[in-house]
Symmetry: C2
Subunit: 183 residues, 2 copies
């Protein structure tokens, strides 16, 4: 098993209570009570299960990485009892663009990396890639965010900024799952 | 199943006869008679099976892509009865580099894309990514090449040029499987 592989299973198990599932664009995800995060790839019995793999940097350059590393904090902070799982899919047109064109849209036009840096360390984040798994997945990316309840308004602001960019013209499905850690 | 997923199974089945397996660096692959290429992900019964997914461009820019598209030919040409499957793995150090640093080594220092273009249309090629599958794979990339028997010396020249680059300092395992199509 790939140790960078994660499965997010919605159902009645797991350390995170699902507060709300908002459909931002495209088909919804079915309601469920809890979310379980595991590394395995076995047969899941939940309402739905999403799979993704953490990977190497696809767009970040060395100067940006230095800023990220200096400011970011890890997952699992005691104060970060709120979370969001945001699965998105991008268009076939996006994926047919060459690397330089995607970087141009993502950062030079949309400031995706720069915007994310402004919300560090409050918003911690882990990105999972789904598109190159052997199984056909309903989304291309699963981003997992953790923050304190007091920072949730700032998280909304971050999402609003990203969703208003040119990059988001290339997003054709997005669901926003909000969660609270069960102590 | 992801339609971009391919399995290369070595054993006694398949449309390609294995002529030779050369260990270039690191552990070898076991000898076998034939190679079968399928899209499925089921339980393979061969001597070994390698898995990979074709994906979006990771380094090629739009100008380079225009040259590639203008010159390249597809797989399955009747004259292309010889083939090579070259699985490689890159170091952990390579994967920790940011996108700009990897592009700098791959193209500005090593001319990987430019060199490949010089051997078009003689050498047709399909790249498969293995590193972000849910299963842990022994290689990061599987490249499949097809060419006519008369072009095999030019293919050797291409490999020699690539293996002499700075990029190849970051390759820690490489096997070179040579094949002939069974008519």
């Amino acid at each position: 098993m790939n140790p960078r592989h994660f499965t997010f299973t919605a159902g009645d198990l797991g350390a995170w209570r699902i507060r709300e599932i908002r459909t931002v664009k495209g088909d919804p995800l079915a309601p469920a009570n809890r979310l379980q995060i595991t590394n395995d790839i076995g047969t899941e019995t939940g309402t739905w299960a999403l799979h993704g793999v953490t990977s190497n940097e696809r767009y970040v350059n060395q100067g940006e990485k230095d800023q990220l590393v200096a400011r970011q904090e890890g997952l699992g902070r005691p104060i970060a009892t709120h979370a969001a799982l945001i699965p998105i899919r991008k268009t076939a047109g996006w994926w047919s663009l060459t690397q330089d064109r995607r970087r141009e849209i993502l950062e030079e036009q949309s400031g995706h990396i720069e915007t994310g840096i402004r919300y560090l360390p409050a918003i911690a984040r882990r990105l999972h890639h789904c598109r190159d798994l052997a199984t056909e997945e309903p989304f291309d990316f699963l981003t997992w965010f953790e923050f304190s309840p007091a920072d949730e308004p700032r998280f909304e602001e971050l999402l609003g900024a990203l969703r208003a960019t040119r990059e988001w013209d290339h997003v054709d499905r997005e669901v926003d799952v909000r969660l609270t850690r069960i102590d």
